[in-house]
C-alpha cells in the first residue's frame, strides 16, 4: 500500500497528464461529438503537429510555445483543406464512408511520415525541459503545468466560440438539424470544414504543449487516440467542459490505477470507466440527450 507521500504527487501528476489527454480530446469532441464524424486520422494528425513543432524547433530554433502562433493556424488550414478537398468529397455525406476515408488518411499520413522522417524517436531539449514546480511537496514538470493551463484556456476559448459567435451557432445548428440549417442559408460545406479545421487546430495546440515533455515518432498518435475517444464518451459528446473534466478524471484514474494495480494493469481502470459510462450513462457526464 503506497503512502500519502506518493499518492498526493501521483494525483497531481495524473491531473497534468489528464490535461494533455483533454487537449487531444477537445478537437475530437468537436469533430466527433458535434459533427458525428469519427475521425480515425486524429492520431496521425497529432503526429503531423508534433513533427511541425519539432522541425520548427530543430531547424529554426523556434520554441515550442512560440510555435503556438504558427502550428495551430497551419493545422487549421490543413484540417479545412482535408475536409473540403478529401473527406467531404470522398464520403458523399455518409458516415460509414467518412470512417473509411479517415482511416485511409491515417494510414497514408503515417506511412508518409515513416518514409520521410524514418521511425527515429525525436524529442526536443529546451532550457525548461527539466524545470519543476513544487506543489504540496510534489515536483511537477514545468511543461506539464503549462499544458494544464493551456488545456483550461483552450477549452474556455472553444466554449466561448461555440456559444457566443455566429460560427458557433452555425456549427450547433448543423449538428442538430442539417437540413434545417441548410434551409436558413448556412453554407454546410464551409461550416463542416471550419469545424474540422478547428478540431485539427486543437491538435496543433496539443502538439505545441505536449512536445516539451514527450517525443515524436510516426506512431506516436496511437497512444493517445483510444484514450481521447474514451474521454469524449466519458465527458459527453460535443461537450468541451466534459472533455476537460473527462481528461482530468482519466489522468487521475490512470495514475492511481498504476500505483495500486501495477503499471501494466493500471490501464484497466480507464476502460472500466468507458464500459460503465456506456452502460449507466450513455450520454456521458456532461452530455445531453440528442
Amino acid at each position: 500500500m503506497p503512502d500519502l507521500a506518493i499518492i498526493v504527487p501521483s494525483v497531481l501528476n495524473g491531473l497534468t497528464t489528464g490535461a494533455l489527454y483533454a487537449l487531444v480530446a477537445l478537437g475530437l469532441t468537436l469533430i466527433y461529438g458535434v459533427l458525428h464524424i469519427i475521425n480515425f486520422a486524429h492520431g496521425a494528425l497529432l503526429m503531423v503537429g508534433l513533427y511541425a513543432v519539432y522541425f520548427l524547433h530543430s531547424s529554426f530554433g523556434i520554441d515550442p510555445y512560440v510555435s503556438l502562433l504558427i502550428v495551430p493556424p497551419a493545422m487549421f488550414a490543413l484540417g479545412y483543406a482535408l475536409q473540403r478537398g478529401i473527406i467531404g468529397r470522398a464520403s458523399h455525406g455518409r458516415d460509414e464512408n467518412i470512417l473509411l476515408v479517415t482511416l485511409g488518411l491515417s494510414i497514408v499520413i503515417e506511412n508518409l511520415a515513416l518514409f520521410v522522417f524514418r521511425s527515429d524517436t525525436r524529442s526536443v531539449d529546451t532550457p525548461y525541459s527539466f524545470e519543476v514546480v513544487e506543489i504540496l511537496g510534489a515536483f511537477l514538470p514545468l511543461p506539464k503545468v503549462i499544458a494544464f493551463a493551456g488545456a483550461l484556456v483552450t477549452a474556455a476559448l472553444l466554449w466561448l466560440l461555440m456559444s457566443r459567435t455566429d460560427l458557433g451557432r452555425a456549427i450547433r445548428a448543423l449538428a442538430k438539424e442539417r437540413k434545417g440549417a441548410k434551409l436558413v442559408g448556412i453554407d454546410v460545406d464551409h461550416v463542416f470544414a471550419m469545424s474540422f479545421g478547428l478540431g485539427i487546430a486543437c491538435l496543433g495546440v496539443a502538439a505545441c504543449l505536449l512536445l516539451p515533455s514527450y517525443y515524436v515518432t510516426p506512431q506516436v498518435g496511437h497512444g493517445f487516440v483510444l484514450i481521447a475517444f474514451t474521454i469524449v464518451v466519458l465527458g459527453g459528446m460535443g461537450s468541451f467542459v466534459g472533455a476537460l473534466v473527462g481528461g482530468l478524471i482519466i489522468g487521475v484514474v490512470e495514475a492511481l490505477g498504476g500505483l495500486f494495480l501495477g503499471e501494466s494493469l493500471g490501464q484497466i481502470g480507464i476502460f472500466l470507466i468507458f464500459i460503465l459510462v456506456l452502460v449507466f450513462r450513455p450520454t456521458g457526464l456532461l452530455g445531453h440527450k440528442v
Binding site: 503506497p2 503512502d3 507521500a5 506518493i6 504527487p9 501521483s10 501528476n13 497528464t17 503515417e110 506511412n111 515513416l114 524514418r118 521511425s119 527515429d120 524517436t121 524529442s123 531539449d125 525541459s129 527539466f130 519543476v132 515536483f139 514538470p141 515533455s213 514527450y214 517525443y215 515518432t217 510516426p218 506512431q219 496511437h222 497512444g223 493517445f224 490512470e254 495514475a255 498504476g258 500505483l259 501495477g262 503499471e263 501494466s264 493500471g266 490501464q267
Partner: protein
Amino acid sequence: MTDTKKTGGLRRREFLATGAAAVGLGITGFPAILRAQPAAVKLGLIHPVSGFIAFSGTQCREGALMAIADINAAGGIKSLGGAQIEAMLADSQGKPEIGAAEVTKMVEAGADGIVAGYSSAISLATSQEAAKTNTPHIVDVGVSDQIVERGLKNTFRFSPGYGKTAQFAVDNLDTINKAAGSPAKTAMIIHEESLFGTGTAELLQKRLPEKGIKVVDVIKHANPTRDFTNIVLQIKSKKPDLIIPANYYNEYVLLARTMRQQRVEAMGIYSVLGGAASSYQFVKEFPEAADLIMDCNHWFNPKSDVAQQRKAAAEAKGLIYTYEVFLAYNAVLAYADALERAGTTDKEAVNAALAASTLDMSYMPYGPTKMVDGQNEGAQPVNTQVQNGVIEVIFPEEFASAETVFPMKS
C-alpha cells in the same frame, strides 16, 4: 586537312582491327558473361519496421541491407560463382504472428535463408515457422534464450542471449561495486512487459542477491507507457542504491527524463540491454541526463578498425550506429560465410555450415566463434558508460577505452 585524311585511312584500319578483336573477344567472352550471372541467393529480412518498435526494426533492416550491399560489391558469394545476395523485405509490424506469416510467404517465394526478427517474441515465431521447411534462420537481435533451446536445426544466433548478458551484467556490477568498497546494497528493476524485459528482470532478480545486492522492488510497465511519474515516485520512496532499467528506447527516454525531473539520486543507473550508455541519440539529445549512466549491452569492438570503418559508413548514410545495425549486419555476414563454405544454397548444407561456423568476428568484443546448439558461445556483451558525452567501453578490460566512474553521486 591532309592530316585528317591520312589519319582517316588509319582509323578505318584501326576500326577493322578493333572490330575483329571485339568480335573475337565476344565469341570467347560470351559464355564467361553467362557464367558471371549465377542465380541470386534470396535472403529474407523480416523486421518490425512499423509498430511500437519500428525504430529498432528499421535499424536492423538498414544494417542487413548494408551488409548485403558490401558483400555484393566485393564480388558476391565466390563459391557460387559470384552469386549476388538479393534481399526480400517484410514488415512484421512488431507482431509474432505476422512475422511467422511473412516467413511462409517468403519460403513460398523461394527464400534461401531468413534473417529476423529483432524482438525475442517475433524471433521465436519466425524461426519456428522457418524450421518447418528447414530454412536457415539467423536471429539478429532477439535475446531470449528459448530461441536456441528448442532444438531447432535451422536456428542460429551469433549475438549473446539474455542468460549470458544477465550473468555478465551481474558479475561486472559486482566487480565495479567491490572496487568502490561495496557501497551499493539495494537495487530496483524497471522493465518492459514483453519477453525481453520480463526474462531479463527474472534473471537479475535471482542473481543480484547472490552478490549481496538486495532487490527492493521490480516494476513492470507497458509499451508504450505515456508517463513515468508513478514509477519514479516509487523509486524515490524506496531509495535504491542502483536503478536497473530494461526497456525499449522511447520508454527509456521518458523514464530517464522523469528521474531527472523528480531529482532521483542514486549511486548508479545500470541498464541491461538498452539504455543511454549504448545510445548515441540519447547522449546527443540529453548529454547531462546521460552522464555516467552505465549499460550492459551489445556493442562493437572500439579497438577494431573494421568496426570503426563500418560505423563511419553507417553514419555517412545518416544512420545512428545502434547495436541493431551491427548485429543485423553480422547476421548477414554469418549467412554469407556459411554459403561460401557450403558452396550451395541447399538448406541442409547451409544449416550444417552455419552449425560449424568459426567466422572471425574480431570486430566484435567476442571470443572465437563457437557454435553450440545454434548459439555462438563466444559472444558476449560489454559494459559501457557515458563519460563527458562519449560512450566509453569500461568492461571487459581488453576492450576498455576508459576507467569506470562509480558511484556517480558522492
